[in-house]
């Protein structure tokens, strides 16, 4: 498989120009920032809730905007044009994810600033955000490929929004240990625990378990997305 930065950049630049004229995506980008402003007024000791602005930025911007961008390519038959060009699968997937990644990082930084969340050192933040970002971008790409239209991404994506975005908030509703343990393994929970642990101890050795779980989530999402891409790209 070939990899040309020029082709990746061409797809990135096209998406960037398109984004500036896409009111749906621009509005969606503003949502996590708006929520951060609201959440900054509420104090909560639960680490998952403390990190909710980052998690929201990851799922709304990283997953849902990515899903919308991919679904629109399918809806308007433009993905077919890319597939029939010299761009390889890897170039298309990286090119289509690059803009969302950049936008998500900006939204995370703005949300963190607004919510007053204490940042970790740059390498630690980058590591945790990068692993989560890979997972959410892959999830968004998969949702986009499974949807026939941009509107459909909201319907197909809703269970994932509940699972990866809101489940932590519903924890008090459950008493079953098994369910609570399972929720603890969700990527947002692992991210929050790792973040808080690092902010307290500052030792990477203390979050090896969380890093492994986050890496597994990211790998699984990428593999499922590549398989979905193979099956659904020409639909």
């Amino acid at each position: 498989m070939t990899f040309s930065l020029k082709r990746v950049n061409a797809i990135f630049m096209k998406d960037y120009k398109d984004l500036l004229k896409n009111s749906y995506v621009l509005f969606t980008i503003a949502l996590p920032i708006f929520y951060s402003m609201l959440l900054s007024k509420i104090s909560d000791d639960d680490p998952t809730m403390t990190l909710f602005p980052i998690n929201l930025a990851l799922i709304i911007t990283g997953a849902f905007i990515q899903a919308a961008i991919v679904a629109e390519e399918k809806e308007k038959n433009t993905l077919r044009g890319l597939l029939l060009s010299p761009a390889s699968t890897l170039e298309i997937l990286v090119g289509k994810s690059a803009l969302t990644a950049v936008v998500t990082l900006i939204v995370i930084l703005v949300s963190v600033k607004i919510s007053g969340l204490e940042m970790l050192s740059i390498p630690f933040s980058a590591l945790l955000i990068a692993l989560s970002l890979i997972f959410y971008l892959a999830l968004g790409t998969m949702l986009g490929l499974l949807s026939r239209t941009v509107m459909e991404t909201s319907i197909i994506g809703m269970p994932f929004l509940l699972l990866f975005g809101m489940m932590s908030m519903f924890k008090p509703m459950f008493e079953n240990e098994l369910i609570l343990n399972a929720i603890g393994y969700l990527p947002n929970e692992q991210f929050a625990v790792a973040w808080v642990t690092l902010s307290e101890s500052g030792q990477i050795g203390d979050i090896v378990g969380e890093l492994i779980v986050l890496t597994l989530w990211a790998l699984a999402a990428v593999v499922i997305t590549v398989i979905t891409y193979g099956k659904r790209r020409f639909d």
């Binding site: 070939t2 040309s4 020029k6 082709r7 950049n9 061409a10 797809i11 630049m13 096209k14 120009k17 398109d18 004229k21 896409n22 308007k76 038959n77 433009t78 993905l79 077919r80 044009g81 890319l82 597939l83 029939l84 060009s85 010299p86 761009a87 390889s88 020409f234």
Partner: protein
């Protein structure tokens, strides 16, 4: 001349529906090859299989002398151009932005964008957002995109279906020029005039089978009526058989000075198609 496409016993089924039945044909390098048939005859299915968008059920496809399955990589895709029935455009972007993306994907110089926009008669629309273009103009942008990198082999699925006669002529002139520069063209159409004007050879596809394959000229001769039509000075048209009796009749009319013109009764490709398949092309 070398074959650029070789298709042997190609079949495609979708569930119980047979879309293509044991189709075999070759396309020679440098020719313009037309696949003629009504909607649902299997034209688009064929193009999709020739461009790796669909896998055949049975049969062999060779493009550039290589089995198709093995060559869907960047170097192969650079050698072909494709206009499909549902090629999409980024409608919030301008014509230029759309073509710039593809010029970079194909590593083509920007100046070729202007050249190709002249071919499709859109040189004054570079800054126009695609969503503001008419259907015909959008089709010309997708056509420009397919031709931008001057491919060795160009697949066109109904390239002029939404165009008015003036722009159709523009496109035909552009395709002839591209063909002159060495591009082999494989096009599907249900427009027999288009096929007659630009195709070196045509195949008639009906219900997934090739019913006839030859040059338009040979087909016309093969299916030519055994008569000629005389137009006389009093505006009468007389159909005369091409035999001894007919020759005598023509001689008499010519001798009396009544003949304005004599035409051989060559059928159009559309008429031949009806004769072979029993149904219209459109």
């Amino acid at each position: 001349m070398e074959n650029i496409i070789e298709v042997k016993n190609l079949s495609k089924t979708f569930g119980n529906k047979i879309a293509l039945k044991n189709v075999s044909f070759n396309v020679k390098r440098g020719e313009t090859f037309g696949f003629l048939g009504p909607s649902g005859s299997g034209k688009t299915t064929t193009i999709k299989m020739l461009t790796s968008q669909l896998l055949q059920t049975t049969g062999e496809i060779k493009v550039f002398n290589q089995p198709l399955k093995k060559q869907k990589d960047a170097s192969f895709m650079k050698r072909i151009g494709i206009l499909t029935d549902n090629s999409g455009l980024y409608d919030r972007l301008t014509v230029l932005d759309n073509l710039t993306l593809y010029s970079e994907l194909y590593n083509v110089e920007r100046k070729q964008i202007n050249e190709i926009l002249e071919v499709v008669n859109l040189q004054n629309e570079t800054k126009t957002q695609v969503k503001k273009l008419s259907k015909g103009m959008k089709q010309r942008v997708t056509l420009a995109r397919a031709m931008l990198h001057k491919p060795e082999l160009l697949f066109l699925d109904e390239p002029t279906s939404a165009l008015d006669p003036v722009n159709m002529k523009h496109i035909h002139d552009g395709l002839r020029e591209l063909n002159k520069q060495g591009t082999t063209i494989f096009l599907t159409t249900h427009n027999m005039m288009e096929a007659e004007q630009i195709c070196d050879r045509v195949a008639f596809l009906h219900q997934g089978e090739i019913k006839q394959l030859d040059t338009p000229q040979n087909l016309r001769i093969q299916y030519m009526d055994e008569s000629v039509t005389l137009l006389l000075k009093d505006n009468r048209s007389i159909v005369v058989n091409k035999d001894e009796k007919g020759a005598e009749e023509i001689y008499q009319y010519m001798r009396s000075g009544e003949v304005v013109s004599i035409h051989s009764n060559e059928p159009t490709l559309g008429e031949i198609f009806v004769q072979i398949t029993g149904r219209e092309l459109a």
